[in-house]
Amino acid sequence: MTDPERIRNFCIVAHIDHGKSTLADRILEITGAVSARKMKKQFLDQMDLERERGITIKAQTVRLTYQSEGDERYVLNLIDTPGHVDFSYEVSRSIAACEGALLVVDATQGVEAQTLANVYMAIENDLEIIPVLNKIDLPGADPDKVAQEIEKIIGLDTSGAILASAKEGIGIRETLEAIVHRIPAPTGDSEAPLRALIFDSWFDSYQGAVVLVKIVEGNLRPGMWIRMMSTNQVYQVERTGIFSPDPMYIEQLSAGEVGFVTASIKTIHDTRIGDTITERDHPAAQALPGFRPVKPVVFCGIYPVDPAQYDHLKSAIERLWLNDPAFSYNIESSAALGFGFRCGFLGLLHMEIVKERLEREYNLSLISTAPSVSYQITLTTGKLIQIHNPAQMPTSEKIGQIAEPYIQVEIYVPKRYIGPVMKLCDEKRGIQTDMYYLTESRVVLRYEFPFNEIVLDFYDRLKSVTRGYASIDYEFLGYRSANLVKLDILINKQPVDALSIIVHRDKAYYRGRELVGRLHKIIPRQMFEVIIQASIGNNVIARERIPPLRKDVTAKCYGGDITRKRKLLEKQKEGKKRMKQIGHVNIPQEAFLDILKV
């Protein structure tokens, strides 16, 4: 058992690309947790996907031993947090497990929206915050200006800010000293009944759920019977341990410590992030505050390209869900795509990650339909229904009222991009509620949006109109009624349910034309004429024609060409196989998602 006085639990708060992972790498190196030779760049981001995208999806934690300049040994627990707005609840729980945070800000860029959201979270949780101005080695670095920004925006004293370049190894030792001297030690009582905060968990096929916990009070050891306070599920602890960074079993975890616990838990649905673990026989009176179940907000259909792969998809989704219960899934069927799943996600990035993991880790070829939000419909009978899929929308005469979810978005943007950003927001039906200058050159725009408008491509468009200089954060406001209609796409007179979308009536005409135009480009010529139409109810609002293919022949094929020509034919055949046949028309997979990015 480590003396709590010698424990420091901290996390790193930073915007994407501001150097969080590199700083973590340097800290690991200097404390000897990972030898430089073994060091892969971005050690903490373990999933391939995380490393490729340069972001953290799952929380990681690592215990480090640090010999301070006063020659005292400290145990440092670095809790790495997910870095995307989709995962802000997970971030809040990781932050709740810490007593301090490093606020890493790129000295060439300044404070960004997500940094702010997370820093406020850290402040709410009473964390000691140490500003670290990173990338000071770069020519564009202006640490004074950025420090002022931090003081002005966040109200943090930056006199103790550390100037660092994680890439060049500058300021790392100072950062470690600040951690031990400025961040308080955890205060929990080891003798009190157990209260352990779950801040992440994942599924391991040998051990079941591996649960990351911070012991707030009491202690946790193998053999102990524990209870999950939100679900009342009871388990017997098998093992307790820490990551340093490889997993190491230890005899017990006690107050102030961070580590993992396994208890033959079959699904991590039972190890909810934010929940409190207590001892069955000596339970704590109250759970730790802040727990709430996560709720998906973005929905899309996921279907196998080859309908025969449905069972394979089903087992892949079930297995992936063991590892990521934040997404939801329900069987659905589409006339166009056959059997698949309507899945719910925390956000768009989460959706892309799940889809990519399914394809990559389970070798599936998938079609995903356009993301949609969930709508509340009051039927003329007075009944209230919730739909996650445009195909479920009742016919217009049955609808009394439709309500769509609204969100509040804060956009942080350099002054010179205000014009284009406001134009984009208008286009997306945004209602401006506030605008103020953070500094002379940076502005915060606050808007209320129908969430639906943000789901498709808002973030990409925002990045492109601001050359990547804008950042956003959002929160839900609730449902508001709106004049929405269902736009159907017909291919050779057959409605394709998977291509239906729900749009605002004022935009239906434009979207219909746009959609038909894109399909016209994306659907290859077939052996027969293809007519693409967009309609609302029985009114056709747009139409395009793809003329039949009349010529596709290889002029020359002699002895030396046979293999090559055969391979070309095989490729043509494969290409056709990857398309989805609807009626007799072959439609490329990307049609179902990409064309909707207007």
């Binding site: 293919l549 009349r550 046979i562 034919l569």
Partner: protein, 376 residues
């Protein structure tokens, strides 16, 4: 049936649309190449798989850019060392009108060549210019005359249509011109914009505009109709001949018969093995010098894959597939084997079934890749 193919990778100039292994090379390299070729003839002729051949085809490139004596020595060695099913096998040489002389053709004829395929390509000066050909229309006319004068019994003309700037009328004139010469055989190829060629780049840059699809379809229809009216029977997608004067060597390819290919990049098919020689001229020369052979790549297809490949090749032939012959040879009945896929193609009128033969319809020939990609 088995064919022997010899590749000569040299040309006077490289044409902008060509993606074959060929081009201009110094005579010194040509000499070393011919040396290697003679060596490869020796080594392969001693191997068991080199059985008895029915046809010989010297292609390229432009074989006739080589000094005629070298070609004659290649021919002599080939006739000497391999066995032949007939004392007068079909022996074809490809020639470019700009690279033949009456003397040269006379010597080739005397050495046993009985079929000449002239790369006329176009009979209009504008056509030759956009194709970047180094010969003139009158070169083509003289070459044809020489070939007849020295007594070639089989003369074939190669033509290309769908040229940038060409209209249906222009192609009509080319075809009429070719027919008026009275060749035994005419090959008409639609211009294909291949991989990485100057033509492709020019098209991508928009400097060159090809005729639209409608026009090319009209040209194709015209080709088939006009040649048929003049006694040339179409026997393959791009090949037409006075009945009985088809190219037997090429028919063997479409029947997926055996062949031995010599020279760089040449392909051999000695079932079930298909082998390709080293593409690079220098690599080929070196390999033959060291080992007598130059095989770089081998492909082995199982029976079913060979059956499927044979179907896609045989359907290029106008007569198509003889169902009884295929069923007997492969032990797969195509009708049963392809089941519904075939039914759909028949129902759409792309394939037809008559007298136990399965063949592409006229519409099917225009969309051959669509049909064949279903069957491959």
């Amino acid at each position: 049936m088995a064919g022997l193919y010899i590749h000569i990778p040299f040309c006077k100039t490289k044409c902008p649309y060509c993606d074959f292994v060929s081009g201009p090379f110094p005579v010194e390299i040509q000499k070393r190449y011919v040396g290697a070729l003679l060596r490869e003839i020796e080594t392969t002729s001693q191997e068991a798989e080199a059985s008895c051949f029915d046809t010989l085809y010297i292609g390229g490139g432009t074989p006739t850019v080589l000094p005629v004596e070298w070609l004659v020595s290649i021919l002599e060695k080939t006739f000497d060392l391999f066995s032949w099913s007939d004392i007068h096998p079909e022996v074809t040489i490809e020639a470019n009108p700009g690279s033949v002389t009456e003397r040269g053709l006379r010597e080739l004829r005397a050495a046993g060549v009985n079929r000449i395929s002239l790369g006329v390509q176009s009979l209009s000066p504008g056509g030759l210019k956009v194709l970047g050909r180094s010969h003139s229309v009158s070169d083509s006319l003289s070459a044809y005359r020489y070939a007849r004068e020295v007594g070639f019994p089989l003369v074939s003309l190669d033509l290309i249509y769908g040229l940038p700037g060409q209209d249906v009328e222009g192609w009509h004139k080319d075809l009429e011109g070719a027919i008026s010469l009275g060749p035994d055989h005419i090959s008409c190829y639609e211009l294909t914009v291949e991989g990485d060629t100057p033509l492709k780049r020019a098209v991508l840059r928009g400097e060159v505009v090809l005729p639209d699809e409608e026009t090319v379809l009209e040209m194709t229809d015209l080709t088939e109709d006009l040649l048929a009216r003049n006694g040339y029977r179409q026997y393959e997608i791009s090949n037409f001949a006075i009945p009985g004067r088809e190219c037997r060597h090429n028919i063997n390819y479409w029947e997926n018969g055996a062949y031995l290919g010599l020279g760089c990049s040449a392909v051999s098919f000695l079932p079930p093995y298909r082998e390709r020689n080293i593409r690079d001229i220098f690599g080929y020369i070196e390999s033959v010098r060291d080992t007598g052979r130059a095989i770089e790549e081998q492909e082995v297809l199982d029976t079913e894959a060979r059956f499927r490949e044979s179907v896609t090749l045989a359907l290029r032939l106008i007569r198509g597939i003889s169902l009884p012959e295929f069923s007997e040879k492969w032990r797969y009945d195509p009708i049963i084997y392809y089941g519904d896929t075939l039914k759909v193609l028949l129902a759409r009128g792309l394939l037809a079934l008559e007298d136990q033969h399965l063949f592409l319809t006229r519409e099917g020939r225009r969309l051959a890749n669509v049909v064949l990609s279903e069957l491959v």
